[in-house]
Amino acid sequence: MITLITGGSKCGKSRYAEDILTGFDGRRIYVAAMQPYGEEAHEAIARHRRLRAGKGFETIERYTDIGELQLPQGCAVLLECVGNLCANEMFRDGKMYRPADKISAEIQLLAARAEELVIVTNQVGSDGISYTEGTAAYMAEMEKINRSIAVSADCVIECVYGIPLVLKGALPCSGR
């Protein structure tokens, strides 16, 4: 089962995603895509670690190429988050790539191995600001990935200041 959780920045998406998997009876694997560069990234990572401490997750740091992850069959996976993964795949080796199709395909590989896949993403296209080419392309790739995941997801949830709104399917039972 695939659950996609979207919404604005700092709106309780991660906490909600973790809570969905708290009731899962099996190995819970947290795939962290944020690269630990800079003070703010360190703070964000530390905050996320505190948030999921004691919730029974094994953490794998994986910044690109998530399709190559070796996962035990039947585990639960929490992928956090598409925004970082997309930026990591898009801007590397001093070049700009268009990774939406690659990431969408790799997410399907994860979904085939995991019993439960919960994906945290971000809405990035709603601030009404016209950005320069690289950022505009990033927004386009992000929303393309989001649309693609939503098609195959069983459940799509938008978090609004911590309140889950169901956009597709039904709330996962442990996330009520």
Partner: protein, 130 residues
Amino acid sequence: MILIVGGAFQGKTNYAVSRFSLSHSDVARGSECRLSDVLSARCVADYHQLVRRLLSEGSDPLIFTEQLCAENEAAVVIMDEIGCGVIPLEKSERIWREAVGRCGCMLAERADIVIRMICGIPTVIKGELP
């Protein structure tokens, strides 16, 4: 407490005034009102702007929000949703965006009713309207 969220210019304040029998003089604007007014006003609008003011004064917006929840339980609080864009380049904007998100989560958790406005249309996303 009642929380009304949504994008800018979606009709949040007008809805609050008409639905909850307020007058516009009952509304304290977070962009300009005195901090003490926030703790007693029937309605506080532009809470996301108040968060910016608190940060610029060196105050912790989460502590102030906690105080608001404790001292003005019956208030109607209105704030924009500002997190649905790309990460701002300016550090101060990133700090503001994060603080607004955390304060919004706290207000939504404490509120009995949360309403989201789009195009002037209210959707109750928590609780039930009286």
